[in-house]
Symmetry: C2
Subunit: 236 residues, 2 copies
């Protein structure tokens, strides 16, 4: 492989291909996207994909990984907040950064659309994405939520509340086709995203303040309450 001899153009067409593929996959989905269109936009020959990536699917997985990585680096979940910041502020940063990441429309807007398609039809690439990108963020949020719940934090309650927070963020993106038809007046510019982040944060904080462990219907003794105080603590 060209290591340093050609750092200027290690493989120009390869990168161009990756970029064009991101666009096309996001627009059309993996199946409907055609290698011909990708190569056309990249200004490359039809055989370029197979030469540089092996086949269409390998190209796709590389595109997905790259898009997620780039999005997380552009909008880190902490938004620059120090780990010692108050939990409320960290929750707000988490929500806002998530929204910004999802609604980003720069040259890498691919990330959002690609993930929606991945929800509808998961590919092998999703496993790696969950492991490398999503699980760490899930852990971060769980830490914030556990701190906000304090002594009430049980693993189940932390998980349920974390999902309740994330769901509100993702929903606006996942269901945009429906939201756009239901409320055509909604626009997702930066101002509205800030307002949205404020609403979601407030809504969630109010809920978290009063949240109690749901006594799981069938086995309901209160013996569990005292056994859980050890979970809320954080790593440090």
């Amino acid at each position: 492989m060209a290591d340093q001899t050609q750092s200027e153009t290690p493989d120009r067409t390869r990168r161009t291909l990756l970029l064009a593929a991101g666009e096309v996959f996001a627009e059309c989905g993996f199946r409907a996207a055609t290698v011909r269109e990708i190569c056309r936009r990249a200004g490359a020959n039809i055989a370029a994909v197979n030469y540089h990536f092996g086949d269409k699917e390998a190209l796709y997985t590389e595109v997905l990984q790259h898009a997620l990585q780039a999005a997380r680096e552009k909008y880190p979940p902490s938004l620059g907040l120090p780990p010692g910041a108050p939990a409320k502020a960290r929750l707000r940063a988490f929500v806002l950064s998530f929204l910004l990441r999802i609604f980003d429309e720069g040259p890498h807007a691919h990330h959002g659309k690609l993930m929606v398609r991945e929800m509808a039809e998961p590919t092998l690439a999703l496993d790696a994405v969950v492991r490398d990108q999503i699980r760490p963020m899930s852990g971060q949020l769980a830490g914030i939520v556990a701190e906000l719940l304090g002594a009430r934090a049980t693993p189940e309650l932390v998980r349920a509340c974390s999902l309740s927070v994330v769901s509100q963020v993702m929903f606006y993106h996942l269901c945009r086709p429906v939201i756009g038809r239901l409320f055509p007046e909604m626009k997702f510019d930066r101002a509205q995203i800030d307002q949205l982040a404020a609403h979601i944060t407030e809504f969630s904080l109010h809920a978290l303040r009063n949240a109690k462990a749901t006594s799981s219907a069938k086995p309901s003794p209160r013996a569990r309450l005292k056994a859980k105080s050890s979970i809320a603590n954080r790593k440090s």
Copy 2:
């Protein structure tokens, strides 16, 4: 047209086709689903789709409409509650019926998967579905939320809070691929769905009790003492 002379078999293959198409479209998506496979499962000839529906897309729109309609009839949003029931109970019924509808795995499990795919790649059929099925339910929820908010209800706040409620429900279904990988221990049987409905309802009720119109201002820290007993609870 055979009106009553053949009420036993008005068009048997047509209905069989519709059923098989629901399966295949849900499994593979509109694009990847093949007319051949649909006809094979229906035990019909390859030309049957074009003869009875015109083309593949017309078949799809009919499948989608039918699936949504059937799901809403099977689990009506009120779950049999009278319109005069307390708002809290109506919210709970709305959430539970939504979850049941979405996680239904009967012979018409199509509905859920079809909608997820529709989110990733909306078709013309979505307009009709939003108009006929989704908008009415959205209105119902808005009524419940407005009643719970009482005097604080502004159109914007009602909308934002309604979406926060719906988002929690849909999330578990839309993001199942990720949730299943993050928390493999979660199962979505009837017991867990009940528990999930309880959590979402409680989480939302706590949030609604303290929700205020977002005036792009900072949260007021301690203006939340005893606002909970005022409006939320009433009996008819």
